[in-house]
């Protein structure tokens, strides 16, 4: 009798939890769906719903400012990811493996871009760039993005470096591999999951960044988020909604494919193991 009462309460709690979570998911997804819906809105500016059209998807490609800013964002995000992950990976290994003077200081510096508001980092970089006469543009944005991506990369990868010492690496060297061969064949594969998630994180941070890009953009080009921010006063046009809708669909499809491939590989591995 008491067990069924307990079960009843469990079920009730489970129900409340499910309803609560559905509400939260709904709130998180409402803006995404509204954005998608308004990409089909038959009006130059998004003030109210005026009927269905797909014109913005075809007109999208003639909006050169929009396409250019997307291209600019993607190039910066790819470069920022490559630089951050390269410096971050060897940096994480170096900081973990070697003892040197000032190591504690560098470790503390790595936390600064993570814990200090981004606007402060952006402003600090801006004044130092102006002081040394560096022209604002792609280079300055790239440095800015790397400055907040590298710490995340180092922290993520450091967590993946196993604590079992360096026995594998030493074994590899004993067997006659040199440092670079050891790095490529032994060290890198063992930390690959960390490197991948650092790359993923860096790309995500960079492509959506507004604050750093806005501060360091200079007058000429701007990334997509900076363009959207500047549209805010006049109203964001439906072709931007169309572009963002395409972007999110591409990401979701890529993710689903990734999941399918992963599952297929897992299944194959299991089958091979049973054989």
């Amino acid at each position: 009798m008491s067990i069924s009462k307990k079960q009843k309460r469990r079920r009730w709690e489970e129900f409340i939890g499910t309803v609560y979570s559905i509400i939260i998911y709904a709130v998180l997804y409402i803006p995404v769906f509204v954005m998608m819906m308004f990409s089909f809105n038959n009006q130059r500016y998004n003030y109210y719903w005026n009927g269905f059209t797909t014109q913005w998807y075809s007109k999208l490609f003639s909006n050169s400012a929009l396409i250019e800013s997307l291209w600019y964002s993607v190039v910066i995000a790819v470069l920022a990811t490559l630089i951050s992950v390269t410096i971050g990976t060897i940096g994480a290994l170096g900081l973990k493996k070697y003892e040197f003077r000032g190591k504690k200081f560098i470790n503390e510096m790595l936390y600064i871009p993570i814990i200090v508001p981004e606007i402060v980092m952006a402003v600090a970089l801006l004044i130092i760039f102006i002081k040394i006469g560096l022209a604002l543009g792609m280079g300055s944005i790239l440095i800015g993005h790397c400055t907040f991506c590298i710490p995340y990369a180092v922290v993520t990868i450091k967590g993946r470096i196993s604590g079992d010492g360096y026995s594998h690496e030493e074994a590899s060297m004993d067997l006659g591999a040199n440092r670079i061969q050891t790095f490529i064949n032994v060290t890198l594969p063992s930390i690959m999951p960390g490197v991948m998630s650092a790359a993923f994180l860096s790309f995500t941070l960079s492509i959506d960044d507004v604050v750093m890009s806005n501060m360091l953009a200079g007058a000429k080009n701007s990334t997509l988020p900076v363009l959207i921010l500047s549209m805010n006063k006049s109203g964001v046009t439906p072709d931007v909604n169309a572009l963002t809708t395409i972007m999110i669909l591409v990401i979701v499809i890529a993710m689903i494919l990734n999941n399918i491939i992963k599952n297929a590989l897992k299944k194959r591995k299991k089958m091979e193991e049973t054989i």
């Binding site: 719903w49 070697y98 507004v210 921010l229």
Partner: protein
Amino acid sequence: MKKDTFKRNTLPALAMAGPVSLWMILFVTLPMLYIIYISFMSRGVFGDVVYEFSLESYETLLDSTYFKVIVKSLRAAFLTTVLCIFIGYPFAYYIAKKPKEVASKLIMLIMIPFWTNSLMRLNSWLLLFQTSGPVNNFLQSAGFIDAPMSFVYTDGLVMLGMITNMLPFAVLPMYSSIEKLSKSFLEASADLGATRRTTFFNITLPLTFPGIFSSIILVFIPSLGIYTVTDMLGGGKVLYIGNIIKNQFGAIRNWPLGAALSVLLIVITGLLIFIYTRFAKIEDMEVV
């Protein structure tokens, strides 16, 4: 012999830790020191920085209008953090109690909206809540209100934007610390006769404090400095510290004042981190 150890230890250490160290010194340490230096300088007539020691910027900060903005930003960031924690904890708890397979899918579902441009999501709230927007239409046709309410460019809408943008950063660290919580503690507590409520307050909550503190840091600091939410949803009417700093370096061109405000932000976050390290080890900080 000495040359040999150099080749074996110093050279690889330099090659590996060198680039990251150089980057941090050039683009973190130096700019931070320089911004502190600038905050003690004075402003020239034409918006340039005059290299003369002055406390003028800090005196201006204590001026009532700026002080009001600072207090308002702190209050908003605090409110955002508290609400994100209170809304996020039960949500994180619900997900963490699911089987691993399901939980990882539910976490994915939280992440997907965050790959949509954050400004576009903010813009959606604006579209929903504008005077002739769906929310007002609904409220009017349902008879709750007679005339459209003005939600746009209010503190309330800014708060909604802040919370919806920050919630995942609160949920993820709390999720991973609840998920890590060993079942044996909960079972032991139940065996010893504790009610579920007692177990929650005496075991679950204290053991997940590191996750909660990570969430606080990850939500409070960005919400304190952010200016995009206030720019998009506040329409230039709602000003927080972030907007003021941006304006001082942009249109208004008072760099020392902007620098002083930045230093103030550093001090506030520094204090927060100090408190944080008292309660939880910094190594435990789950940033991802």
